[in-house]
Amino acid sequence: MPRPDRGFCLSPAVKFAVVVYSSPASSQAAASAYQFVRTLLNEGHELYRLFFIADGVENANRLTVTPQDETNLPQQWHGLITKYKLDSVACVSSAIRRGILTPEEADRHNLDAHTLLDSTEIAGLGQLIDAAVNADRLVHFG
């Protein structure tokens, strides 16, 4: 039996960064981003960073409730981020104005609940610039 021609059919792994601008409820873009990230990981590529910005921070809202026959995108993201130990970041200024808070931010503002999934961190736009510089491809979904 002939041996598989190693290295001939395999394309090299590429380092992606993905930016999500839309909330799960407002457009298809968040679901497209999820499909895209799942596929690139399945194909053996690397995700340098997942960055939620503007309404996209709603993808990391742990209190999202969806009807039983619909998919809960924040929970799906959480599963994927946890499984692959992805670097997932929500833009801080987008997040807090929409009530997407870490326990620390909730404390700081004297609020009684935190809403950010614990698989996602909160950070500034510097993390987006860093992703743009260090990833091979930056892909936006909005």
Binding site: S11, Q28, R38, T39, L40, R137
Partner: protein
């Protein structure tokens, strides 16, 4: 430098008209989400010339358009979408 342009909003928003002047012969266009409605607009797609035009097949199927495209449109799945991103040196998204 070749660029993969993506459009994810319907033709009514005029995104293709906005970006077509910066699309060059070595670039390509990928249509997804409501952008797949451009597959009904041969009048807007054909003037782009010989650049490859890709269309996400599951978004076409979801809108009942998979059988309605014309010959310039190449239907692709997510695996091919990811691969296209690696084949072009940049991905520029219009939405």
């Amino acid at each position: 430098m070749s660029i993969l342009f993506t459009i994810s909003k319907p033709p009514a928003l005029g995104l293709l008209e906005s970006c077509q002047s910066i699309i060059e012969g070595s670039d390509a266009l990928l249509l997804l989400e409501d952008g797949v409605y451009y597959s009904l607009r041969e009048d807007l797609i054909r003037p782009l010339g010989r650049i490859p035009i890709y269309c996400l097949e599951e978004d076409l199927l979801a809108r009942g358009l998979a059988e309605k495209t014309f010959e310039l449109i190449q239907q692709v799945n997510y695996e091919r979408f990811v691969k296209l991103c690696t084949e072009y040196s940049k991905v520029v998204s219009w939405f």
